[in-house]
Structures are given as structure tokens and as C-alpha cells.
């Protein structure tokens, strides 16, 4: 496709920053486990969406656009505070705008497209990735946002929702990897510390960048 700027070059250029568990990384038992765990959330989301779209079919367009929007967002490179570049997850903004149950569906579909168009993530690991990115991340972001809203701290809420939502995604990913690959000594906990350590190096600054970015976007939305 002509006209695609090299700014959108993703994937192969930065394999070290891939944010999803790649295809084939999880042993068969764990892959199935996460699928089974994510499925009820997904099914509930689909049920409530079917209800909503039956009354208002045009909402399908809005949902599809929102999904496409968060896909494009996740393919965008954002300058990280450490100077490197990485990709935002967009879960925070999505959860605040659409609510976490809708995000369970949209997030999963976005993951499908990331696998299909960008080879990020995979099919057997879709369950695990959906659990971290489309379920846990949005729920945490949403919860934090609500909590801050009660304290009348909307801006802070947006920042924390995006930062912690994105961070939660990586922590869950670390847990998933740790469960699949417990260390010989210290077991899951030791393994978790190792994986989380590696992710923290790259993801902590990124999560902060994403928080800042989301606040910028939010400010703009308010002024519009």
C-alpha cells in the first residue's frame, strides 16, 4: 500500500518491544486455561453488545471505528521518556470512553487484527493476551478512573487510569509467563520477578508516556 510512512513501521523493527505473548510461547495447558478464563468475559460482552446494537444498529459503525481507532493507536510509535520508541496500548482511554465490558470485545478484536495484520501475538495465545489487555487492563483503568472521579480528581484519574492500566497489562503478562515457566528454585514467584524485571525496564517509562499522552488527548477532547 503506497503512502504508508515509515513512521508506522512496526513489528520486525522492534521485536524486543513486542507487547503480546507470541504464538507458541505458552504450553498447551496454559494456552487453553487462558482461553477458558477469557471466554466468559467475551461472551458477556458480546451479549450486551448484541442487545445494544439491536436497538441501535448504527452503533455497530461506531464500535468498529472505535476498534479501528485503537488498532491504529497501538501501531503508532510513541516516543518513550527513555528516548526509545514503543507502542501505546490505548486500554486506558478505551475503558474510560466505552466502559470495560465493551472493551473486552473490542480489545479482543483488536488483538485478532494485530495478529492478522502485524503478526503481533498469536492465535493460541490470544486467550492469554485478551485476558491481560482486553480484560484486566481496562477493568483496572476503569476502576481507578472511577475512584479518582469520586475524589474529584479527573485529570489525575485519566493519567493514573492510562498509566496503571497499561502497567497492569504488563504485570499480568509477566504472571502468565511466570506461571508457564516457573523457575527451578523459587518457583513461580522467582520467575515472575525475573519477567517483571525485564518488562519494567522497557514498560514503566512507556506506561508513563502513555499516561501523559492520554492526558494530552483528554485535554484536547475537553476543549473541542
Amino acid at each position: 500500500m503506497a503512502g504508508l510512512s515509515f513512521y508506522l513501521v512496526v513489528g520486525a523493527a522492534s521485536p524486543a518491544q513486542a507487547m503480546h505473548i507470541m504464538e507458541g510461547f505458552l504450553p498447551v495447558g496454559w494456552a487453553i486455561f487462558w482461553w477458558v478464563l477469557s471466554l466468559p468475559f467475551f461472551v458477556l460482552g458480546v451479549k450486551s453488545l448484541t442487545q445494544i446494537t439491536r436497538e441501535n444498529p448504527e452503533l455497530k459503525l461506531l464500535l468498529a471505528l472505535a476498534g479501528a481507532f485503537s488498532f491504529v493507536l497501538s501501531a503508532l510509535k510513541i516516543p518513550s521518556v527513555t528516548g526509545s520508541c514503543s507502542h501505546p496500548t490505548g486500554t486506558g482511554l478505551g475503558a474510560v470512553l466505552f466502559g470495560p465490558s465493551v472493551m473486552a470485545v473490542l480489545g479482543s478484536l483488536v488483538l485478532v487484527f494485530q495478529a492478522v495484520l502485524l503478526a503481533h501475538g498469536g492465535i493460541t495465545t490470544l486467550g492469554a493476551n485478551a485476558f491481560s489487555m482486553a480484560i484486566v487492563g481496562p477493568w483496572i483503568a476503569y476502576g481507578i478512573y472511577r475512584l479518582c472521579l469520586k475524589q474529584r480528581q479527573q485529570k489525575l484519574g485519566i493519567f493514573l487510569a492510562a498509566t496503571l492500566g497499561s502497567l497492569a497489562t504488563y504485570i499480568v503478562t509477566s504472571i502468565q509467563l511466570a506461571l508457564a515457566f516457573p523457575a527451578a528454585t523459587g518457583g513461580v514467584l522467582a520467575s515472575f520477578i525475573k519477567f517483571a524485571g525485564i518488562f519494567a525496564l522497557t514498560q514503566l517509562p512507556l506506561s508513563i508516556s502513555e499516561g501523559l499522552l492520554t492526558v494530552l488527548v483528554w485535554n484536547w477532547l475537553q476543549s473541542y
Binding site: 503506497a2 503512502g3 510512512s5 515509515f6 484536547w220
Partner: protein
């Protein structure tokens, strides 16, 4: 042409998009003469947009050399920033170029990126607003501007950086005749300040009336260049490229034919020139 009079030159440049099998431009050789009104014509997909993006350093050619005033381009960040100040690029669709919320903010975007002191930014933005007749729109939100106004802002955005070469991609599309006329006045102002202009367009009559020099592109190469008179006199070649001939050329030819057919004296070259002048003034 002496090398000093060339602003930007391409030598056998080839560029292929990442996802494509065929090069978008290949064997592209051209010299943009200083302080001229230049136009590129060619079918959609012939590589005009790629040419512009190469000239602005947005793409890096896989083969060949691009030179600015005789020096090959460097692709480190600093040189690119300098190049982009000298070569301003106005995009086809103003919607996709305007980034800020108000006109003033949008014009200041490029200056702020340069990290200039605030007083200078203020002064240059003011001057540009004045030059492009945008003073009363300074605070207007971009979303509520008309297309013609957006186009004007998108040119002001680039001109505030005081480039030596201004590239315009398809600037008259979707403009109504009055807006096209205003656009021409804007362009004349830019030109009179010593800026070289290169624009791509499908509007052959505009090219015929405005340009000093015309490049014809086909499948990523320059296949013909010259003054509008010489280029459009090659009507057969132009037709074969799927470009058509400016209506005015067709019209004058038809008249000559009709006169000859009726055994009347055809118009002299001098008379034709006079008629052409007259039409352009309208």
C-alpha cells in the same frame, strides 16, 4: 543551465515503497530552476507525490542522488531539519496537514518545533497572518474554516518557515473557481518574494496559463519538459500519455481548422499570441 541556478536536482533517483514490488519513481532526473514557476503534470499514480516527498527528505531514495544547490542531501536529523526549512511541502488535502486547534496555533507549529524564542515566533506569525490575509481568522477554530481558507492556512503554515522552494501537491482540487483565483493571487505573492514554486496538478489550463516550466511525468520518470508552449505543442505524445491538451490549445487549433476549412485566412502566430494573452487576463 548553470549549477548555481539549480535549486534542487535529482539524478537517476529510484524509490520503491516498502510494501510494493515496483518502484514508484525510477531513473528520475530533473533540475528545478531557481525562481521559476514550475509545474509537474502526469496521471494519477505516476509518482508525483513520491517526487515531492523525496524532495522534502521524507523518503530516502534507494538509488541515485538528490542535491540541494549542488550538495547531496544528508539524512541525519539535523540536516533534514535544515532541508525541511528550505523546502516547504503543502499537502494535497489540507485536512491532513492542519494539526492545531486555531489558525494562529497551527501557523506557529513549525516555528515552535524549531525552538525559536517566543518574541520571534510572535513576530513571524503576525507577519504571516498579515501576508496571507488571515488576521481576522487568527483565533478561528480550524474545523469551521471553509476549504479555500484551509488551503490558505496550509500554505501560510509552510511559508512561515520562509522556504526557498515551495512544493504544492494538487492545490486546486475541490476549490471553486473563485477560490482558485484567490489561490493564484496567493501564489503570485509567494513568488514575488523570491520563492521558487513547484506544483503538481491535473488542471492543464492552469498550467498553460501560469507555469514557466513544465515537467511531464509517466511511470515514475520525467518524459518531457519545457515551456508550456513547447510541451503542449507535442499534442500527440501528451495524448498518448493519457493527459489531454489544455482546452485553450484545442480551441485555437479548432478555430484554425475551421477557418482553413471555410477557405478563410487562418490567424497569424501574432494574433494567436494576442488571443492567448487576452484569455489569460480574464
Amino acid at each position: 543551465m548553470s549549477p548555481e541556478s539549480e535549486l534542487l536536482s535529482f539524478k537517476n533517483v529510484e524509490y520503491t515503497y516498502p510494501c510494493s514490488q515496483h518502484p514508484a519513481v525510477q531513473n528520475l532526473t530533473l533540475k528545478i530552476p531557481k525562481h521559476q514557476r514550475c509545474a509537474v503534470i502526469g496521471r494519477n499514480g505516476c509518482g508525483k507525490t513520491t517526487l515531492f516527498r523525496l524532495a522534502n527528505g521524507l523518503y530516502r531514495p534507494q538509488r541515485g542522488i538528490i542535491e540541494w544547490q549542488g550538495k547531496p542531501l544528508n539524512y541525519d536529523r539535523k540536516s533534514l531539519n535544515q532541508l525541511r526549512q528550505k523546502v516547504g511541502l503543502v499537502f494535497q488535502n489540507p485536512e491532513q496537514q492542519l494539526v492545531a486547534t486555531t489558525v494562529e496555533e497551527d501557523i506557529s507549529y513549525g516555528l515552535c518545533n524549531l525552538g525559536l524564542p517566543e518574541s520571534e515566533i510572535a513576530q513571524r506569525v503576525q507577519q504571516t497572518l498579515l501576508d496571507f490575509d488571515l488576521l481576522n481568522l487568527a483565533d478561528a477554530p480550524i474545523n469551521y474554516l471553509s476549504l479555500g481558507q484551509k488551503k490558505r492556512v496550509s500554505i501560510a503554515d509552510v511559508m512561515v518557515l520562509q522556504p526557498q522552494l515551495l512544493l504544492l501537491d494538487e492545490p486546486t482540487a475541490y476549490l471553486d473557481p473563485k477560490q482558485v483565483q484567490n489561490f493564484r493571487q496567493t501564489l503570485e505573492k509567494v513568488y514575488s518574494r523570491g520563492t521558487t514554486i513547484l506544483l503538481a496538478t491535473h488542471n492543464l489550463d492552469f498550467v498553460e496559463a501560469w507555469a514557466d516550466w513544465v515537467f511531464v511525468m509517466d511511470s515514475g520518470e520525467i518524459v518531457l519538459e519545457g515551456t508550456p508552449e513547447t510541451v503542449f505543442s507535442q499534442s500527440q505524445q501528451i495524448q498518448e500519455l493519457g493527459l489531454g491538451v489544455p482546452l485553450i490549445v484545442t480551441a485555437l487549433n479548432a478555430i484554425q481548422d475551421e477557418l482553413t476549412l471555410n477557405q478563410l485566412t487562418p490567424l497569424s502566430a501574432e494574433q494567436l499570441q494576442k488571443i492567448r494573452q487576452r484569455i489569460r487576463q480574464l
